[in-house]
Every structure is written in structure tokens, then in C-alpha cells.
């Protein structure tokens, strides 16, 4: 399957999941509730509100991360080894996302969500979200910087571009 077709399939799948969500009955508080004491503050309320849709949300997250990494590959030229690096980066993001979901579910099961274990100032699932999912894309930033000449702007391809550009400039000058 060509990469663009694969990306299109991922978009369709994401669209499909969102469509399914329209048909899953919502629990009260699924979109948050007004805080009982403070004006203009909301609460999540009962954690059971996520039970019905946790599989949809998890699938949506997995598809989105897969889509993002696939789209990164759309514009660059990767050899076999570089493909492994990109896949590893995507795998790391997926791992962080799943760790966040499972650690959240584990706290729910243990009944300790209101008194969670803290890691670097945040409850563990939120720490996976912010430090994990938020920072792992830095792998792709490093990859872009380090592999720029070999997979983003290959010198031989850029040279070819410059030849066409020079040709175009010559013909524009001739017209003038």
C-alpha cells in the first residue's frame, strides 16, 4: 500500500471512530459538570463516565499517533535504518499514550485517583501525558536536525532542483 493511501485510510478510520461516538449514549457528566462551590469552574465528577468510551478514546489515540508519524514520513526520503528510527519514535509515543491510559485505569481500579502517587509534581497518569506523550516527539526533532542532509534535503536532489531553477531563470532573462 502506498503511504498516501495508508494515510487516507487512517483519516477514514479516525472519522469512523468519531462517527461511532455520535451513537454511544452519554453518561451524565461525560462533558464535565459545574463545580458545586466555585463559579466558572468545572469538575469531571464520577470516573465511571469514561467506562463506555475508553476503547474508542484509546483507539482514537493509537490511530492519531500512527497518523502523525506516517505523515512525518510523507515528505522525507528514508532508508531502511531510518525507517526503523521513525518507527521506534512512533512506538515510544504509543507506549507513553498506553502507559497513560493503563495507569489511569489502574488508579481507578485501586480507588486512589483522588490521592494519587506523584511523579515530578504530577499524578502518574498525568506525568505520562505531559512528560511522556508531550516530550517524546523531541525524538523526531533530533532526527530532523541530525538526519537533515540524508533524508530531508539530499544534496544530489537539491542540486537537480537548482539546475531546473537556473534554467528557469535563464529563460526568464531571455524573455526580457
Amino acid at each position: 500500500m502506498k503511504l498516501a493511501t495508508w494515510i487516507f485510510a487512517l483519516y477514514l478510520a479516525i472519522g469512523g471512530i468519531i462517527t461511532i461516538a455520535f451513537f454511544v449514549e452519554e453518561d451524565p457528566g461525560s462533558q464535565g459538570l459545574a463545580h458545586p462551590t466555585y463559579k466558572d469552574m468545572s469538575i469531571g465528577g464520577e470516573s465511571t463516565r469514561t467506562d463506555k468510551i475508553v476503547w474508542l478514546g484509546t483507539a482514537l489515540g493509537i490511530l492519531q499517533i500512527t497518523l502523525f508519524v506516517s505523515m512525518l514520513c510523507l515528505a522525507i526520503h528514508l532508508d531502511k535504518k531510518q525507517r526503523v528510527w521513525m518507527a521506534a519514535g512512533g512506538g515510544l509515543m504509543l507506549t507513553m499514550f498506553l502507559a497513560m491510559v493503563f495507569s489511569y485505569r489502574a488508579l481507578l481500579a485501586a480507588g486512589t485517583l483522588s490521592n494519587p502517587a506523584i511523579f515530578l509534581g504530577l499524578p502518574v497518569p498525568t506525568a505520562f501525558m505531559i512528560y511522556g506523550l508531550g516530550l517524546t516527539p523531541l525524538v523526531f526533532v533530533i532526527f530532523y536536525v541530525v538526519q537533515f542532509d540524508s533524508c530531508v534535503l539530499r544534496p544530489e536532489r537539491y542540486e537537480k532542483f537548482q539546475q531546473v531553477l537556473a534554467e528557469r531563470q535563464r529563460s526568464a532573462e531571455d524573455h526580457q
Partner: protein
């Protein structure tokens, strides 16, 4: 020093505005033609471009709306921040090199110029310019109004300006913005962005330090306080819920690729190879500045729950109140200046791409040539756009409409530009017909969404309407391209897309 708090804050903001005017005057000497006005002569270094890219991305929303959302719904709005690194990667992987090469090939001065080259279609150029213009007008009003409200808040605290009207605040803040945009065009814009970005970074680092100290136990105690009050608010989905948060993650990661005032800056660097350094500069700048967004929101929620700060009348006052009551005067002054910087750095980019659409792209599409005296018309149009947006922000019959239009503008940019530009410049199979239909569909879907919002039609699980519009326009683009005959690309377009 505390006795002079209001004077210090006002002094910092005034000094910031004076510096913007000075930069405008300096840039005026460097702006000799339309190419300089819209593209800064394509001569920017990587540091200037990198900081301009991130500061244009982070509008006033990040400094006021972001903390307000965290105060209001807990961790939910952090999804808009944690998508930044992957969002910037998507922008640079997909466009950092490609858009620069397209611009170099035809000496383009705008995004619709690039689109017209890629699709060999003046209709696509026209539709793209129209979408940008509509988005700019919708978004600019909300930025100008935000700027005026902040200025009014600052000035009304002093004894001399206590009764200043919102109209005067619109006039003063817009005048500064318009002055440097008109005199120095995009050169003034990117150099003020550089200065504005640096202020944002310093302000965010200092605020983070004070937010950390809001409770004795630092962020651990802040987290525990919020979780004890409502466990879900401190969990990954916050009050909004799982599907709503995932739709934000999707929209803000991918939608960033479709912001014309940001994407256009990727065409302005001197050397295509600079893209490799611009990406990390942008990511680091945004990441540091976003500390303010997260830290103020969490600290204020915990302070109010603990009874250490009075209950807020409106979530939007979370950041201003934290600055006024929990930070030293000089820091409050720097952050208020940073807030102006955040709003202006986005608004100046909008003015520039909007003016390019009016004086360059629409005439090109309709008459086959741009206006005579393009630079003069660009300056006149910049003033006209700002005046129109300011008048609309002041006299709109419905205050809610302005906020809605801000979101509408963002939605149009994302849904129209992501498929046509981010995908189309990297996929040879994309056709002009698909691009045209996707742009029209993005406008129609976003109008429908705005109408639904106005009618308060609920969307299940608060899935963001912008995400739905974005998926729809991308699927339309792919479907029509695959169903139509493969396009015949010119030698030049082939050369760019093969790099």
C-alpha cells in the same frame, strides 16, 4: 515598590509599545518593495525565523485563555500544549523544506502564490486567498478586542486613566500595531516577533517559578489539592472527558500546519538548510512559553480551592489576578508586556497575509497581474483591514460572536490549508479540482459549525467541531484526487516535489 505597582505595569507596557514603534521605523528603511513587505526579502536568519514562528503560533490565547481553561476544567486544556512538539514536527517535516523550494522557484510572496504554482490553477489561488482573507478577518477582530481589554484593565487601575473607554483602548493598541505593520511590513513584524518571543520566554520562566511557590509543597501539593477536590480534574482528561481531549490533540497538532501567518514565515529564511535549526528553536521557545499557560492555571485552581485566593468571577481573570496578587510588580509588568507581545505577534502576521491576499493574490487570480504600486496598496490595505476588524470588534451586535469568529477563523485555516498545502505539496496525485472542492467544503463546513454553535446544538462528548471539519475536508481532498485523472505536473513542480 508595591505602591507604584500600577505605574510599573503601565510603564512596562508603554516601553514595549515604544520599542515596537522604533522597530517599525527601523524596518521602514529596509522595506523598499512588495517583496520586502511580504517576504522580508527572503533573507532571515534561523534564530529570527524560529522565534517568529513560535511567537506567531502562541497568541494572546496562550497567556489568558489557556490559564483560564486550566482553571476552569483542569488538565483538559494541557492537550493543546502537549501536541506542540509533534505539531511543529508535522509543520517542518511537511513544509519546512517544500514551501521554501516552491517560493524559490517562482519568487512567490504569499501562500496562494505557492498554491497556484503547485496546482497550475488561478481558481485555486483565488479560493485560497479568499479563505485566508475570511479567516484573517474573523480572527483579527478577536485579537484586537483582547488587546483592548487588557489595555483597559491596566489603564483603569491608575488614577489618571480610570475612566478610559474601550474605544480608546482599541484605538491606542491598534495604532501601535498598524504603525509598525504599515511602515515595516513583515520585516517589522518578524523583528518585533523576535523581541516579543524573547519577552514571552523570560516572562514564562519567571511566572513558572512563582507559580511553583504558590503552595509550600510546590506542584506536588497543587496536584494533590486539585485531585482531592475532584480527582478527574487532575487526571489526563480533566473535566472535559476523554474524547473531547483527543479531538483537541488531533486538531491542535495537525491544525498548526494550516496557519498561514506561521507557514508563510517558513518561506522567509535565507537558506533552505536553516529549516533544520528553525524547528528546534521554535519547539523550545513554545515549550518554555507554555509553562506560563500550565503553571498559572493549576496554581490558581489550587489557591482558590484552598481558600488562599478569593473565588474568581470569571475564569478569564485567572492570569491577570495571579499576576496582580502573587507576583512582584516588575514581573507583572514584564508579563503584561509579554501578553501584548503574544497578541500582537499573531495579529501582525494576520495583517500581512491578509494584505497579500487583497493586493497580490486576488488581483492575480482575477486579472492575471497584481496591482500597480503594490507596496503602496499593501500599506493602505493593512490599515483598512485593521480598521475594519477594530470596528467589528467594537460594534458587533453580539459579543459572543467575536469569540466564535476567532474559532471560526482558526477552523477555516486548518480545514482549508492542511489538505491543499500540507498534503498537496507532498503528494503528486493531489489535483486542482480536489483542492478547490476541499477549500469550498472547508468554508461551508465551518459556516455550518458556527451556525450550530450559535443555535447551541450540542456535539456528543464535546468533540471539537474544528476536528470534524478538518477530517471532512482532508477526506474530500483525498477522495476527489483519487477519483480524478492524475494531474500532469510541470517540470518545475516535479523538480520541487522530487527534492
Amino acid at each position: 515598590m508595591e505602591a507604584y505597582r500600577n505605574t510599573i505595569v503601565f510603564g512596562c507596557v508603554a516601553a514595549y509599545m515604544v520599542l515596537c514603534i522604533v522597530i517599525g521605523l527601523w524596518a521602514m528603511r529596509k522595506t523598499k518593495n512588495a517583496h520586502d513587505f511580504f517576504m522580508a526579502g527572503r533573507n532571515l536568519g534561523f534564530l529570527v525565523t524560529g522565534i517568529a514562528v513560535f511567537s506567531s503560533t502562541l497568541s494572546g490565547f496562550g497567556f489568558v485563555g489557556g490559564p483560564a481553561l486550566i482553571y476552569k476544567m483542569g488538565i483538559s486544556s494541557v492537550w493543546m500544549v502537549i501536541c506542540a512538539a509533534i505539531g511543529f514536527c508535522l509543520s517542518f517535516y511537511l513544509l519546512g523544506k517544500r514551501i521554501w523550494l516552491f517560493a524559490a522557484m517562482r519568487d512567490s510572496i504569499s501562500l496562494p502564490d505557492v498554491v497556484a504554482t503547485r496546482y497550475k490553477s488561478e481558481l485555486t489561488r483565488f479560493l485560497m486567498a479568499l479563505a485566508i482573507l475570511l479567516g484573517v478577518m474573523a480572527y483579527l477582530g478577536s485579537q484586537i478586542k483582547a488587546m483592548a481589554h487588557v489595555l483597559q484593565d491596566i489603564m483603569s487601575r491608575g488614577s489618571f486613566w480610570q475612566d478610559i473607554s474601550l474605544e480608546w483602548c482599541v484605538v491606542i493598541s491598534s495604532a501601535v500595531l498598524v504603525f509598525y505593520c504599515v511602515t515595516g511590513g513583515i520585516i517589522a513584524s518578524v523583528y518585533t516577533d523576535l523581541f516579543q518571543g524573547l519577552i514571552m520566554i523570560v516572562a514564562a520562566l519567571l511566572v513558572f517559578f512563582y507559580a511553583y511557590q504558590a503552595l509550600p509543597g510546590g506542584f506536588a501539593e497543587i496536584s494533590q489539592t486539585i485531585a482531592a477536590d475532584d480527582a478527574e480534574s487532575m487526571a489526563p482528561w480533566g473535566a472535559l472527558g476523554m474524547l473531547g481531549c483527543m479531538s483537541w490533540y488531533f486538531l491542535f497538532a495537525l491544525g498548526g500546519v494550516g496557519q498561514p501567518h506561521v507557514v508563510t514565515k517558513m518561506m522567509m529564511n535565507k537558506n533552505v538548510r536553516d529549516a533544520r535549526y528553525i524547528l528546534p528553536v521554535s519547539v523550545i521557545g513554545f515549550g518554555v512559553s507554555a509553562l506560563l499557560w500550565i503553571s498559572i492555571g493549576l496554581a490558581m485552581r489550587a489557591l482558590v480551592i484552598n481558600g488562599l485566593h478569593p473565588e474568581l468571577a470569571a475564569a478569564d481573570t485567572a492570569a491577570p489576578q495571579f499576576l496582580q496578587l502573587h507576583t512582584p510588580a516588575i514581573l507583572a509588568g514584564v508579563v503584561f508586556a509579554a501578553l501584548f507581545a503574544a497578541i500582537m505577534s499573531t495579529a501582525d502576521g494576520f495583517l500581512n497575509v491578509g494584505a497579500a491576499a487583497v493586493v497580490h493574490d486576488i488581483p492575480q487570480a482575477l486579472r492575471g497581474k497584481s496591482l500597480k504600486h503594490e507596496l503602496l496598496w499593501a500599506r493602505i490595505t493593512t490599515v483598512a483591514l485593521a480598521v475594519a476588524a477594530a470596528l467589528f470588534s467594537l460594534y458587533s451586535p453580539d459579543a459572543k460572536l467575536i469569540a466564535m469568529l476567532g474559532s471560526f477563523g482558526w477552523g477555516i485555516f486548518a480545514a482549508a490549508i492542511v489538505p491543499v498545502v500540507a498534503i498537496g505539496l507532498n503528494w503528486k496525485r493531489g489535483t486542482a479540482l480536489a483542492a478547490n472542492v476541499a477549500i469550498i467544503a472547508s468554508l461551508l463546513i465551518n459556516f455550518t459549525v458556527m451556525f450550530m454553535r450559535k443555535m447551541e446544538v450540542p456535539i456528543p462528548y464535546k468533540i471539537h467541531e474544528g476536528a470534524i471539519a478538518l477530517i471532512a475536508s482532508i477526506c474530500i481532498y483525498f477522495s476527489i484526487s483519487l477519483l480524478s485523472k492524475p494531474p500532469v505536473l510541470s517540470k518545475e513542480v516535479e523538480a520541487v516535489m522530487d527534492v
